[in-house]
Amino acid sequence: MKVQRWTRTSRLFTAGTGGVALALASVPLIFDPDVVQKLTNLLILVILAAMWNALAGYGGLLSVGQQAFIGIGAYGTVFFAGMGVSPYVAMLLAMVLAGAVSVPISLLALRLRAAQFAIGMWVIAEVISILVRLDKNLGAGTGISLIQMNQFAPNFRQAYTFWMALGFTVLFLAALFFLLRSSLGASLQAIRDDEDAARSLGVRVASRKRLLFVLAGFGCGAAGVLVVANTLFIEPGSVFSVQWSAYMIFMVLVGGLGTFEGPILGAILLFAIQTIFTQGGPWYLVGLGATAALVALVLPRGLWGTIEERLGLRLMPVGYRVVAPETKTETKVQASA
């Protein structure tokens, strides 16, 4: 029996990914600003999906409160820009702030399991949202503009934001990729399969989960930064909305929970749906909710997981595959009688 990680497809594809990133970098040079803005939204979705999948798919942590970090990223940007630093520096600071805040939050949140964690995170997001609403300098409940961006011409602004989004996407996908390929990947897999068993085997469950949680804090913070950079106006009702969690759940479930490629596919799918049904509306959300519930029930591995299973296809070499030798060996391990 041998274990392999790279397949020919995955070698080709990983090289191809670098090419795709380079090609995407030229988007602002070719397309109109409104196309660039839309594609920025796509990249935001990709980051969010990848981060939510890191939590739920690899850490078994179902968060309904990642909007906390989106809001911190967005409002942090406005806050730091208001203090007089360059808006782009403010964005980096805001992302770091979101990541930093995730550390103390993790101390409480990671003690919780399943539903307690899910709703506990939601309440934490609500608390942060209320605190922002209480601050008149942040526009209270009515919202605030990132006026400091007006010093840049719209075309350049849009291009910079896009490149930043691309940079963040590559950064966070690469971070997740190397995290999963490191020795951490195997222990995360063990945690996902059976947390108690993993703990009894000496896997440091808490620290592994914390790493994912903080990564997701940074990532969702970065997404929040991009939201304000892309729209230039935010209000607590929308950046702290639980709707973000709904989108993340949809993208990851439909794409494939616990697969590296699935959430990216899910993000592209959600983006396509949003582009087609531009007017949005309740029926569209009914469709999203019903699809997410249905996929959770009947297709738990999502589109990508199913494709992977049926075709044995693997594009990104984050997992291991066992290649069975010709002769069948029967294990002599017995289930307890």
Partner: protein
């Protein structure tokens, strides 16, 4: 005296939260799952009563008598179509499925009823307005007393059901060990369906009180879910009377918080919830271990 008033109002508010949380507590106690669509189910019940009131002009209490069996049936259907499947698939699946369901219910309500804010207060007759002015500062509303009395009767009735009826024993047995319950002849799926039916119907009672106390719209559900969940956790998950105590603690936190500053009401409740979580799960072990 305003403090006494705040405490009295907090108890009334808390009784409302306890009714809202009761179904959530039952489902967690019996099946170990949290229905993330619980708040939306409560709001759905309020809309159902609203429709009956609109069509017939009846009192809300008559309307609720009509809505109650419908909600029982809906709960039963919810269990056999969605939750039963999700129960078999691990701890995340029920959360994912009910979260999807929550979005579906909210938006179907939006399609059916528009985003307008509705209230059942007008159809509750004397209960909306009557109150006893005890002193200048302290007034006791008839509605508050009604909700408190209903809450105590509700929890008492559930306690009697669980302690003294064969169906109640079967429910406790299934909650404690579903596999062993099957082996002594208890149909665990039927028990689950019964539990969800009761939980959903009681949630709609919470929705009814929400509609009479204040107002609701299609997006009211998530907030009600959070309050209900906070009540369940504050009272100790899985404990029925704990949920009543937890609801009242939450109500008190909110009205006392509002005494400090009107904006602190909800915040104070959230903080109490987080404090309870820290006390229960984080006690003394809040050390940061950085990953290797």
């Amino acid at each position: 005296m305003t403090l006494v008033n705040a405490i009295v109002q907090g108890i009334f508010l808390g009784a409302f939260y306890a009714v809202l949380a009761c179904g959530l507590s039952i489902m967690f106690g019996v099946m170990r799952i949290i229905n993330l669509a619980h708040g939306d189910v409560a709001v759905l019940g309020a809309y159902l009563a609203f429709v009956v009131v609109e069509r017939t002009g009846a009192s809300v209490f008559v309307a609720f008598a009509v809505a109650f069996p419908v909600m029982l049936a809906l709960g039963y259907i919810l269990q056999v179509t969605v939750l039963e499947r999700s129960l078999k698939a691990g701890i995340l699946t029920p959360l994912l499925a009910t979260f999807g369901l929550s979005i579906v219910i909210q938006n179907l309500l939006l399609i059916a009823f528009s985003p307008d804010v509705r209230s059942l207060g007008g159809a509750a007759g004397v209960f909306t307005t009557a109150s006893w002015q005890v002193t200048g500062e302290l007034s006791i509303s008839a509605l508050g007393v009604l909700i408190l009395v209903v809450a105590v009767i509700l929890f008492g009735a559930l306690q009697l059901f669980l302690s003294y009826t064969p169906a109640g024993w079967a429910m406790r047995a299934t909650a404690e060990d579903a596999d062993a319950a099957e082996l002594v002849g208890i149909d665990s799926r039927a028990v689950y369906a019964r539990a969800t039916a009761i939980a959903v119907a009681i949630a709609s009672l919470g929705g009814l009180f929400l509609g009479i106390r204040s107002a609701f719209d299609p997006a009211s559900g998530p907030t009600q879910l959070i309050f209900a969940f906070e009540a369940v956790v504050i009272g100790g998950m899985g404990s029925l009377w704990g949920t009543l105590v937890g609801g009242i603690a939450l109500g008190l936190a909110q009205t006392l918080g509002a005494q400090l500053h009107p904006e602190f009401s909800v915040l104070a409740g959230h903080l109490l919830f987080l404090a309870v979580l820290i006390a229960r799960f984080g006690g003394g072990r809040l050390t940061l271990r950085v990953a290797r």
